[in-house]
């Protein structure tokens, strides 16, 4: 099985195949091979040990990953996001995010459209733009209130407001489309 996993802004290609015994796996990180022993241990925990080569900063320099770890993996708040807990470090890993984003962008809206979605549930306090408005990158579009704080959501890039999907006072869930920029 092949996965694209984005961590800290860089996408790594991970290949996993069954190995010689039930807990043994042949893996590749960005094409570099290795063997690990891995088991699930409880709902959220994995134990992994082994040795894998990997490309530093995408290559060409190689590093060796000597793994002896028990990690926890849970769902994060964003789509396709896993949270990996590793010795007190919290690391976000998005699985197949590129494909997911492409699918979302090409879904209900036209190619090139950018969907601005609510990052968290909340209540719409103010709508700052109307359909047809030209906006610049980082211009405020909608103000959402949650947990007694107001948060201004901004345009990820310049463009024309194609659609505004909410009105002041409305309650929104995380992921709710607020506006579309074309």
């Amino acid at each position: 099985m092949t996965f694209e996993v984005e961590v800290e802004g860089r996408i790594r290609t991970i290949v996993i195949e069954h190995g010689d015994n039930p807990s043994s796996f042949r893996v590749q990180i960005d094409g570099e091979p290795g063997v690990v022993d891995a088991v699930r241990a409880g709902d959220k925990s994995l134990s992994i040990f082994g040795r894998v080569t990997f490309l530093r900063n995408g290559g060409p320099e190689k590093g060796t990953l000597r793994i002896g770890a028990a990690v926890q993996v849970t769902a994060g708040p964003a789509p396709g996001e896993g949270i990996v807990h590793l010795n007190g470090r919290t690391i976000r890993a998005v699985i197949n995010g590129r494909r997911r984003r492409a699918a979302a962008d090409e879904g209900a809206h036209g190619p090139g459209d950018v969907v601005v979605a609510a990052p968290m549930p909340g209540r719409i306090v103010r709508v700052l733009v109307a359909p047809g408005d030209q906006v610049t990158a980082r211009q405020g579009l909608v103000v959402v209130e949650a947990m007694k704080m107001e948060n201004e959501l901004r345009a990820p890039r310049a463009g024309r407001v194609k659609e505004v999907s909410v009105v002041p006072g409305a309650s929104v869930e995380a992921g709710c489309v607020l506006a579309v920029i074309e």
Binding site: R12, G63, M120, P121, G122
Partner: protein
């Protein structure tokens, strides 16, 4: 005495703990979304008081008094926030025959007015920040305003009499900005508090926020405690507190404590309260305001004095004598630090991060106190503030407390939502914080000047995290989990994430 706690979250849990240690039964109250909140599970019984919106539940007098009646409660602890500084609520409790665990309604009322509180401090001989003694009348002539302002000196602040939370406040740098600032402050105060009254105060450029906790009983005893240092603030909200303050010598501590006690005695204050001071770089201090309730940051005082402030609140409300050794209250043993863990994403400009807590494992071990308000399986709601836990550490000295905080923050796991833990991990290694070189402007200044995530991930850890995430999905998809899987397959988090994020 059966105690109803008119609050939620960590402070409700804190009060339940105190009651249980004293052998007192407790009643929790809850809104719809808090049906299975931690405070509901911890209390001996619980009463439903209304829908999610605080104004219809936790701020709803009659629903809370009904709950007290239904559950045969004898006393009400208001916690902090919500109705804790509402004199009318305190009075309604008393009228309903309930013991209000807090000061007398009159004291709440008086100290709730910033100008009345300033006058009370002045009467007690305690310095206040130079400024106007009373609210400025709407009919004051422009020349007079200009003269008053010149007397106080620039830069100065326009402040709402009924203010709080940074609203109705304006900084005026020079005479030219005075009238405009007065206008906007009045209008903001009017819409925020229904009261346009404002007053002027000199602006201290780099003050520390240092406060004195005190307890007063109904027999005339007032005991002040060692100070708390609360200058680490983001947008006027405290995020880290410690005790004692590096900026306070024993001599200064004695003077600040005496001043705080004098204010409390002057107004016949009972129960727990806090006098907030601004401490100038030259060592002079000024009364800022009084909080007539328990503070969020009370645990740091408890950690360095060994005194349980909440138990004393209850004893005082029962009429008991405050027979505490004043020396114990005023002599810190070691050093304590509190970090407020908020459900916010520090890497996204501290955006709120409500949602389902999929796993929770607080820090433990030596010198660590966890005052948590949530539990695994609970969905942090969007309706209330975002404090989910307070993490407090103790050490013989400040550096030990800081090292312990760093360790405890790494150990603390909150799965499913974002928290401010990465921010605190960063702060606990900042040179100016470590050296104690900070004032109330410090945090906003350094946050404005930095970029990038708060915790940097080593290349090795990033690669391992990617591999672990892929293995997790692989195992879940395969419905297996290697040779020793202990649980059956569960939904992929990649699906969970999408399903939850896109619904509604």
């Amino acid at each position: 005495m059966r105690v109803l706690i008119a609050n939620r979250g960590e402070i409700a849990v804190r009060v339940i703990r105190a009651c249980r240690e004293m052998g007192l039964p407790t009643v929790a109250v809850y809104s719809d979304c808090d049906r299975a909140a931690r405070h509901v599970m911890e209390a001996d019984r619980a009463e439903h008081i209304g829908p999610d919106e605080a104004v219809r539940s936790y701020l709803n007098f009659s629903a809370i008094l009904d709950a007290a009646r239904r559950s045969d409660a004898d006393a009400v602890h208001p916690g902090y926030g919500f109705l804790s500084e509402n004199a009318a609520f305190a009075r309604a409790c008393v009228d309903a025959g309930l013991t209000f665990i807090g000061p007398a309604p009159g004291a709440i009322e008086m100290m709730g007015s910033k100008t009345e509180a300033r006058r009370a401090a002045m009467r007690a001989g305690v310095p206040v920040v130079p400024g106007t003694e009373a609210a400025l009348g709407l009919d004051t002539a422009e020349e007079e305003l200009t003269a008053i302002a010149a007397d106080i000196g620039y830069p100065l602040m326009v402040k709402a009499v009924a203010g709080g939370g940074g609203k109705g406040m304006r900084v005026v740098e020079d005479p030219g900005g005075l009238l405009g600032a007065l206008r906007t402050a009045r209008s903001e105060a009017g819409s925020a508090f229904g009261d346009t009254a404002v007053y002027l105060e000199r602006l201290l450029p780099r003050p520390r926020h240092v406060e004195i906790q005190l307890l007063g009983d109904s027999h005339g005893t007032v005991i002040p405690f060692v100070e708390r240092e609360c200058s680490i603030q983001r947008r006027h909200q405290k995020v880290v507190e410690e005790s004692p303050s590096l900026a306070v010598s024993p001599a200064l501590r004695a003077r600040m404590a005496a001043a705080a006690a004098a204010v409390a005695r002057a107004v016949g204050y009972t129960n727990a309260g806090t006098i907030e001071f601004l401490l100038d770089e030259d060592g002079s201090f000024y009364f800022l305001e009084m909080n007539t309730r328990l503070q969020v940051e009370h645990p740091v005082t408890e950690m360095v004095t060994g005194v349980d402030l909440v138990q004393w609140q209850i004893r005082i409300a029962r009429g008991e004598r405050l027979d505490l050794e004043p020396e114990q209250a005023l002599t810190p043993r070691g050093h304590a630090i509190e970090c407020r863990l908020y459900a916010e994403d520090p890497d996204e400009n501290f955006m709120p991060s409500p949602g389902l807590i999929r796993g929770l494992r607080p820090a433990g071990g030596p010198g660590v106190r966890d005052d948590g308000g949530v539990s695994a399986g609970y969905r942090v709601p969007v309706f209330y503030d975002s404090l989910i836990a307070k993490l407090v550490t103790w050490g013989n000295a400040r550096d030990e407390a800081i090292a312990r905080m760093g360790r405890a923050l790494r150990e603390y796991q909150v799965l499913g939502i974002r928290t401010t833990i990465p921010f605190f991990l960063w702060l606990m290694q900042e040179p100016d914080y470590l050296a104690g070189r900070y004032d109330t402007t410090y945090l906003d200044r350094i946050l404005a000047g930095r970029q990038g995530p708060f915790v940097e991930v080593a290349e090795e850890d990033a690669a391992l995290a990617a591999l672990a995430a892929a293995l997790d999905v692989y195992f879940r998809a395969a419905g297996a989990g290697g040779a020793r899987a202990v649980n059956g397959p569960r939904p992929l988090w990649t699906q969970i994430g999408r399903r939850e994020a896109l619904r509604g």
